[in-house]
Amino acid sequence: MRYLLAAGLMGAATMAAAETPVLTVLTYDSFTSEWGPGPIIEKAFEAECACDLRFVTGGDGAALLSRLKMEGAASEADVVLGLDTNLTAEATATGLFAPHGQDWGANLPIAFADPNFVPYDWGWFAFVYDKTKLASPPKGFEDLAASDVKIVIQDPRSSTPGLGLVLWVKQAYGDRAGEIWTGLADNIVTVTPGWSEAYGLFLNGEADMVLSYTTSPAYHIGAEKDDSKAAAPFVEGQYLQVEVAGKLAATDQPELADKFLAFIGTDAFQTAIPETNWMYPAVTPAAGLPASFSTLIQPEKTLLIPPAEVPEIAKAAVEEWRAALSQ
């Protein structure tokens, strides 16, 4: 009897050990929503990992990093997906991330290599306009400043695209950035807290152009069968945003986390990206890009401040932006 009981207990213990392991991925809001890539990726990964993939959300990219700093090594997350190249230096400085060890190559417009982060998608920032309302869009920042075209932008102190724009102007114009902002002051209808408010104002006709991505028109073509939106190519070049994922050093599922980072480079993950996240996939799927991406502008020049230099440059550039627009 005693042996039986012991055997039973042993059985229960092995049962517990064999319970499905859980991989927790911390990501931003729109990634996990039912129309985002989250559900597709969850299904595809669970089909091959014999695990339970759980998404935990925390606002947008910048908020994810804040939350990580808040939780430190106690975070339940194993993988963080949704930081971008403006945040990787700070994220690395926290010491919370482990090297990913992945060797799959991504096709980005510029060389990208970071020991702690793998790219999963990318896009160029651009001003999006309505072709039926604006016949000849401005060709660059100076052209825009000289025109009476009205734009709506995001605040760099609370939004990722807003910060991207400030860095774009900074890299293109260096010491003249403040001057450019002063020239743009009368073109700016207003500054919004985040991307969605700005885009909403643009769609409601409050501005002629909005700061978004070169891929935004693809959404209108793919999801709404509307080809009236376009992105304006700028002579300075377009600023790049690369979105990345990384493994936390404190993870209790290191093998699963590695498996997931490898999975990011596969077609199963990458095919989900274009028409749910409306960005370019980091690795072009075998089947190519969807038709909605075929008419998008291809920038001649890609701008990106090296991620390691961003923390230093961003603070001063945002202050310069604030001072120029506060006069």
Partner: protein, 508 residues
């Protein structure tokens, strides 16, 4: 005695929730320093909040007075409608206003049609217009409660003394305004002081920055908790100053008790009739236009609404009702204690107005983090924070009436030895039913529309309706977002109207 204790413990709990959470945030990092930009934000915040409070209260007087003394078809609905702007989620309200006053809005299209130059709403004046739109109705409601609290016998006496409209204003309405207006102005001032989205979206640029934006940046973007805590402290100091100032101005009206005969307030005839009709018409139009725009904007995407709408709506409703119950009970205890003359409670009841939901949520998160997982915290923390943030409004609504009640009825209650539950059941609850119903509706509505904290740590299946609206908009689905917002506004308004009209029926 028990009331004193209860009030003290509620006030202490509030202090922990507000100051304790700010302290938890402060202790989570390096050194804090305020920048030149922060001081500019303080200056702008003070300017726009003062102007918003001034215009909201001044313009509310004629509107409230007219509604109080005139009877016209749809009066009950107009009174309910005055609750609406305040119930709109801020972004929705801003979009509604822009549909009327924006660059592509109704007003500019009309101006263009008749060949006049257009107007722009972006700038300090736009921030003030939006705040007046959002808050004037709230002040109207507070004043209406004041007018109905003047015993009908006093108006009859004024008539028998052959007093003119001017004399009635001086002797009856002025003392009531002096009792109610400072608190109302204070409420608007502090709300506007911590306004974030309205200021940013209508301010037109970084000139128009609020302290709240700096707090948001410090917590969500740069993760600099001590800075966020320092900015919070700054908001508390400004708020406390305003509370003290309002306390110096306010005086109880001292009308004495009446017989509760629900007689109409006598209204003057002649040219004043026309003026009053114009005031009503103007108020009704200004209130309903932006709301109409919200409805019109939300109809087209109704077929695109995701399946997750219903559970999100249920979740929001449950959180709203729970936080409303909490908020109203706590506010009743505090208001009765302040009416009895207990000191220091009023500040505790007003402080949450200046509290940042983000700081409170983050602080609770940091305090509770070692014991509970963030996902388990999402809804309870949201409920707690929403209850705390709506308490000052409910308290403001209850306070003048609680003062009147104790002044007029405490002798009778004492002579009958009526205490505790009996007093609550026979005197306090029936006499305070109106502000209690309104307060409960308001607290529920504020919670319904609040996105604040849930966005910090919602899990996969903990979406509230405002969060769903944000997620839809964040994924390009603007039409669906507008429709989800319409569902949110409709549900919010329904809950508000049920609770508020319930309170009015009890007192009918």
């Amino acid at each position: 005695m028990t009331l004193r204790l209860a009030a003290l413990s509620v006030a202490a709990l509030l202090a922990v929730l507000i100051l304790g959470t700010a302290l938890a945030v402060a202790l989570n990092g390096g050194a804090a320093g305020l920048t030149a930009g922060d001081w500019a934000a303080v200056r702008f915040s003070l300017t726009q909040a003062a102007l918003s409070a001034l215009f909201s209260t001044l313009l509310a007087i004629p509107v409230a007075r007219t509604i109080a003394r005139r009877h016209f078809p749809g009066r009950g609905w107009l009174i309910t409608l005055t609750g609406a702007p305040f119930l709109l989620p801020v972004i929705v309200a801003v979009l509604g206003l822009l549909a009327i006053f924006g660059r592509a809005g109704l007003v500019n299209r009309l101006l263009e049609a008749v060949g006049l130059p257009g107007m722009t709403i972006y700038g300090l004046h736009g921030v003030v217009i939006a705040h007046v739109f959002l808050n004037l109705p709230l002040v109207v409601r507070m004043l209406l409660l004041g007018w109905t609290a003047i015993p009908a016998e006093r108006f009859r006496l004024a008539q028998s003394l052959d007093m003119g409209a001017g004399a009635v204003f001086r002797h009856l309405e002025m003392p009531m305004l002096r009792a109610v207006l400072p608190g109302a102005a204070l409420t608007v001032f502090v709300i506007c002081l911590s306004s974030f989205a309205v200021t940013l979206m209508l301010g037109g640029g970084p000139r128009a920055t609020s302290v709240e934006l700096a707090i948001y940046q410090a917590l969500r973007f740069d993760y600099d908790p001590p800075r966020a805590a320092a900015l919070s402290a700054l908001q508390f100091i400004l708020c406390s100053g305003a509370v003290l100032l309002a306390g110096l101005i306010a005086r109880p009206a001292g009308f004495g008790g009446g017989l509760d005969r629900g007689e109409a307030i006598p209204a003057p005839g002649g040219w004043r009739r026309l003026v009053d009709a114009a005031v009503i018409a103007l108020a009704a139009v200004l209130l309903s236009l932006p709301i109409g725009a919200v409805v019109a904007g939300g109809l087209s995407g109704l077929h695109e609404l995701p399946a997750s709408l219903a559970p999100a709506l249920l979740r929001s409703t449950a959180v709203a009702l729970a936080s409303s119950a909490l908020s109203v009970s706590a506010a009743l205890v505090l208001a009765l204690a302040v009416a009895r003359g207990q000191r220091g409670i009023e500040l505790a009841a007003t402080l949450p107005l200046a509290a940042s939901a983000l700081v409170m949520g983050t602080g609770l998160f940091l305090i509770l983090r070692p014991w509970v997982s963030p996902e388990g915290l999402a809804l309870p923390v949201t409920m707690m924070v929403n209850a705390t943030l709506s308490l000052p409004f409910v308290f403001r609504l209850l306070l003048p009436e609680a003062r009147t009640l104790l002044a007029d009825w405490s002798r009778l209650m004492a002579s009958l030895d009526m205490e505790g539950r009996a007093a609550l059941r026979w005197v306090i609850l029936p006499r305070l039913a109106r502000p209690l119903g309104f307060g409960a509706g308001l607290a529920a509505a504020l919670s319904m529309g609040d996105l604040g904290v849930i966005a910090l740590f919602a899990g996969e299946r903990q979406e509230t309706l405002p969060l769903l609206v944000q997620r839809l908009a964040g994924a390009y689905r603007m039409e669906a977002a507008a429709s989800a917002a319409l569902v949110l506004v409709t549900a919010t308004f329904t809950i508000f109207a049920l609770l508020e009209r319930g309170g009015r029926l009890v007192r009918a």
